[in-house]
């Protein structure tokens, strides 16, 4: 979503993005004239008249589980966003019985918070596991 019109989105997709992504952008490219939606989400830069790089993870109940906002010159890390979605999906599927420690990614251990784990995380989880 950006303040550009859908007509500009079409031109960008046809003339540039489709040369990077076969078939063009697969998801809807939203238009937010005047930054009305961006203002509600707190990421519209009124001085510059553009949205900053805000990214929101919204779960199937419509609840915001996480967000990240960057200023324009730094691009996002898509892999990290996907990792976070995978982590939130795991937690949701476990109905909140499991939690994903720092640096978790699919295949790494999860933790089951409860009375028995208090003060015992050091026994089952090592700091090296926070890194790839």
């Amino acid at each position: 979503m950006s303040v550009d019109s859908v007509f500009v989105h079409k031109m960008w997709d046809e003339n540039e993005l489709s040369k990077m992504v076969k078939g063009g952008v697969p998801f809807p490219m939203l238009s937010d004239a005047g930054g009305k939606v961006g203002t509600v989400y707190g990421i519209y830069d009124e001085d510059a008249g553009v949205e900053t790089r805000g990214r929101f993870i919204i779960d199937p109940d419509g609840v915001i589980q996480g967000y990240e906002v960057l200023t324009p010159p730094v691009g996002r890390n898509v892999g990290e966003t996907i990792r976070q979605v995978q982590a939130f999906q795991l937690v949701r599927n476990s109905k909140g019985t499991e939690a994903t420690p720092s640096g978790w990614k699919p295949g790494k251990i999860t933790l089951k918070p409860g009375p028995d784990l208090v003060g015992k995380v050091w026994e089952v989880w090592k700091t090296e596991m926070a890194f790839d």
């Binding site: 939606v37 509600v40 790089r53």
Partner: protein, 83 residues
Amino acid sequence: MAEELKIGCARPTGGPVGETVEVKESEPESLAKEVTAMIKVGKKAPDFTAPAYHKGKFISVKLSDYIGKWVLLCFYPGDFTFV
């Protein structure tokens, strides 16, 4: 899910919808702070409608139509902005 838009000369526009974005006309100054404070993890994402370009068509997208699915909502400064 998404209706196709009839395209005329005017640029299609959308905006926030629903109860979470009621605007008090008399208090424009406080509005920005109020709405910004509404964004919190663990809280509902404010609903909106927005015109969109999707695979050759112009459509209208409503966030609440995606209930039941995971959504990534990404804002960016503008088309052709390099990164």
